[in-house]
């Protein structure tokens, strides 16, 4: 049975409200803003942060790093995933590296990167390496999901590769690519900010969070966290819009379009 969107929104609203109430009750019970600031303290810290003249610079510095890390992992990860999907040699060659990257702890990469690179490059590098295997295996899986009958059919009828790529592979792989993009983007935000806390570049949200921690401005720390959650939601919504289009594209009869 299909639930109406109205009922779903109502329940989401109740969920959100209970989160807020739990936060508020917790902060009142503890009565110590060093341990858990109240929602109102956090909101006023948030307005202080946003109205600061340096705010845009900090935000853009981090967003730019997220974009760079995401773009690198997405492009190179897609290329590596495609190579693995089409060739067993490439797959065998790359799988040890992918497996290693999937399990390597974030902190190991960060510690090494801090010694290797300037502080502003560290978050980009770490985000790239953490997201790369996710994108690569997702794209690889997408290519594996292509209908083999259709593949055979198109080779029997000698459909040119350019047409096959556009009409057969891309529509099948697209949902995987979009889900990989969404995952790696969400991850990039978290990783970039965490790495910024460790590498301390001159500008960036991670640096501001570290200062807030150092000077015990806990409401500010919470405010930055809220802001990051909002930013993550915003970029995810953007991808969701793209995903909706991709799914539309995928539907319909593939073979008819191949002809």
């Amino acid at each position: 049975m299909r639930r109406s969107t109205w009922t779903i929104s109502l329940f989401s609203a109740i969920g959100l409200a209970s989160l807020a109430i739990a936060w508020w009750a917790g902060s009142v019970l503890l009565g110590n803003s060093l341990l858990l600031p109240t929602p109102s303290e956090t909101i006023s810290a948030l307005s202080g942060i946003v109205s600061d003249p340096g705010f845009a610079g900090e935000l853009l510095a981090t967003a730019y790093r997220v974009f760079k890390g995401f773009a690198l992992s997405f492009l190179l990860g897609s290329a590596a995933g495609a190579a693995c999907g089409f060739s067993w040699k490439a797959k065998a060659l790359l799988s040890p590296a992918l497996a290693a990257l999937r399990t390597v702890p974030f902190i190991s990469l960060s510690i090494l990167a801090i010694i290797w690179f300037p502080s502003g490059t560290v978050p980009v590098f770490v985000a790239f390496l953490m997201a790369f295997p996710i994108v690569a295996s997702s794209v690889m899986e997408g290519i594996g999901s292509v209908d083999t009958d259709l593949e055979e059919l198109s080779s029997v009828y000698s459909v040119p590769f350019s047409k096959r790529a556009y009409r057969l592979y891309l529509p099948s792989v697209m949902p995987y690519v979009v889900s990989a993009a969404s995952q790696s983007l969400g991850m990039s935000w978290k990783i970039v900010v965490s790495a910024e806390v460790l590498s301390m570049p001159a500008r960036g949200i991670g640096g501001r969070m570290d200062s807030a921690k150092a000077f015990l401005e806990m409401p500010e720390l919470f405010a930055w966290t809220l802001l990051l959650v909002a930013l993550g939601f915003a970029t995810d919504a953007l991808l969701e819009a793209i995903r909706a289009r991709a799914f539309g594209w995928r539907e319909g009869r593939l073979w008819q379009r191949l002809r």
Binding site: N32, S33, L34, L35, I114, I115, S119, V197, L198, S199, M200, A202, G207, D210, S211, K213, A214, F215, L216
Partner: protein
């Protein structure tokens, strides 16, 4: 249905068990008579001054790597006593943590270590690594640069002295403002590095007094309810500071064991650590003089105001 009931029972049993464990962990300790005072000591020079306390067995000591640990313990009754940088003590007080400063344990021990020529100001305008925000190196540097009206464009923060020392040794940082014993440690590892600026001398030349670096704070509850324990604590600290000053070798061996500090470097560092024991009015004079400079030049680092009178322990 039966399965569900069983699971529910299991759930309740686990909850009850958890509850008992929590009760045990939190409630039982209060039942003991006169428990050992719990101390949080930061590693580095701040903890080094308390070396003798580790051996006495009269204290339960936890070693923290950064001030966060001390904040967590002092706010949650996890410790009554903490050895902290002087700036952190005031910041905690101003943020509502009920602590009092009991004693100062050493004056400054901060130096600029570099491969290149040029003093503090030159490094600060090209490249000068600082370990952490709101730390004593960060605070004193901000004040000195503001007083000199000098450029701070080369000042680069790093997350810890260990990391900064590694970058310096790897040649990735040209100059670093480090506290002892890391100064001695990097000097011993690389003959190309030299001390190019003595922050204590810079400070004295500018302001005409010596700034204190480490202190011991106690919670108000401890000071009010256990005056005898407090008296013993102060005399133990005084003994410890004197002992460390006159026995660098033994103190270094203890630091290696308890604070995971490099013994050879620590032994060399002791004379440069400027250990001194101050309490009562002397501790108040030394720290309040310093706080007024912080308030003037870098107020956020102590929470935007001077600590109130009750912060200073009267004895």
């Amino acid at each position: 249905m039966i399965g569900k009931v069983f699971n529910m029972r299991k759930g309740w049993a686990i909850l009850a068990l958890l509850f008992i464990v929590v009760l045990q962990a939190t409630g039982m300790e209060g039942c003991k008579a006169a428990p050992k005072p719990k101390v949080v000591a930061l590693n580095g020079v701040t903890g080094l001054g308390l070396a003798l306390l580790f051996e006495s067995g009269d204290y339960e000591i936890e070693v923290g790597k950064s001030a966060d640990v001390a904040v967590a313990r002092l706010t949650s009754d996890g410790a009554e006593i903490a050895a902290l940088p002087v700036s952190t003590a005031a910041l905690l007080r101003n943020k509502g943590v009920p602590i009092r400063i009991a004693a100062v344990t050493n004056y400054g021990s901060l130096y600029v270590v570099s491969r290149a020529e040029g003093g503090l100001l030159q490094s600060a305008s090209s490249y000068l690594g600082v370990p952490g925000k709101g730390t004593m190196p960060d605070v004193t540097l901000a004040i000195l640069l503001a007083e000199y009206k000098s450029a701070s464009s080369g000042v680069q923060h790093h997350s810890s002295p260990v990391e900064l020392a590694n970058l310096l040794l790897a040649g990735k940082a040209q100059a670093a403002l480090l506290p002892e014993p890391w100064v001695s440690q990097v000097l011993a590892k690389d003959a190309g590095l030299r001390i190019t600026s003595d922050i204590q001398a810079e400070w004295r030349a500018k302001f005409g007094f010596d700034y204190p670096l480490s202190c011991v704070v106690v919670t108000e509850k401890f000071a009010d309810e256990r005056p005898d324990a407090l008296k013993k604590l102060l005399s133990d600290i005084e003994k410890s500071v004197d002992w460390v000053k006159s026995n660098p070798g033994k103190a270094a061996a203890m630091a290696a064991e308890k604070l995971s500090m490099d013994p050879a470097a620590t032994e060399k560092a002791v004379p440069r650590c400027n250990f001194a024991y101050l309490d009562g009015p002397a501790a108040k004079a030394a720290s309040s003089q310093f706080y007024s400079k912080v308030l003037q030049y870098a107020p956020t680092m102590i929470g935007g105001k001077l600590p109130d009178e009750a912060f200073y322990l009267d004895n």
